[in-house]
Amino acid sequence: MASGYNTYELTYIVNSVISDKQIQDLINRVSTYVTENGGELIEVDQWGTRRLNYPIMKKRNGFYVNVYFRAPGSIILRLERALEIDDNVLRYLTMRMDAKMLRHYKEQKLTRSTLAPVDDKPKTEGRQSRSSRTNKVVSPGIAQKDAAGKDATEKDAAGKDSTEKDAAEKDAAEKAATPGEAKTKETVDDVKAESVDVVEEVVVEEAVVEETSVIVSDEKESEVTESADAAETTDAENTAGTTDSEDEAAVVTEVDSDASEDETKNPKAEGAEV
């Protein structure tokens, strides 16, 4: 069905030796080619210059660009041909996104929308390089679609700057979606952050997942969400948590021991949860 519209993901590597302007010109050319021929750009994600794992066309570095767009299938052939001919495009990979890929992409975007641009914690390489790059163009149409689907969480999530730990938090919490787990997480936050507004956090937590923790304790959010995420990853199975003060202590000790492993554990947990 060449006339039907499909969503595609195109990743290509541009020669990084040429000037920045030339690189941007090339990227814009590819983007305009898509839009001119009836396509709609969803996102242009420039990863920047990365070291290649093996030399391509004798070059050791490449400028990676990741484009998502919706277009009729008939333009793909000419697009790929144009990329093939261009000497400055080292590699390209076009993929039609099926339902699983689309769902994964939407989840990823939700995750990235809660990421802080500046992050000093080690993260999964793929995700960090994508999120911290500049020149991200997200079309409003898709953003609205996502907002409609996950209105409460995304609206608030976009408004604040929280750390990347919210990503795994959100996923795990949404899956569990029990007040017990949320409260357990919040009690940990409370103890760590020594915040006064425990009760408020707990009550609001049930409705919306983790924005409250950030809104209330803004300055300690990195520590809070880090410890909370440690609790999340370990408490993923313990969905039947209670809010007794006795359990607080138990949870705290558990999280304390896990907080030290947080750095090494989380990248793997992140990968698994996403």
Binding site: Y54, G271, V274
Partner: protein
């Protein structure tokens, strides 16, 4: 099966998620066989597809001296 609960990536494995992929490669960058990693069959197929795409885009090497 017990494996399913621990692998949430059973929906889709992104070739860009290199950290995830590296877990299933050995030091030489080779894809580990299922009898070693004990992953479900379709997970292994998705994994293989993703690794080969990543190798094509030079996000992973084909051959390495010490990948980790």
């Amino acid at each position: 099966m017990a494996k399913k609960s621990s692998l949430d990536d059973l929906k889709y494995i992104d070739y860009k998620d290199i950290e995830l992929l590296k877990r299933y490669l050995n030091e030489q960058g080779k894809i580990l066989p299922r009898r070693i990693t004990n992953v479900p069959a379709h997970f292994q197929r998705m994994l293989t597809r993703a690794v080969k795409r990543a190798r094509h885009l030079s996000l992973l090497p084909f051959v390495a001296d010490s990948l980790k």
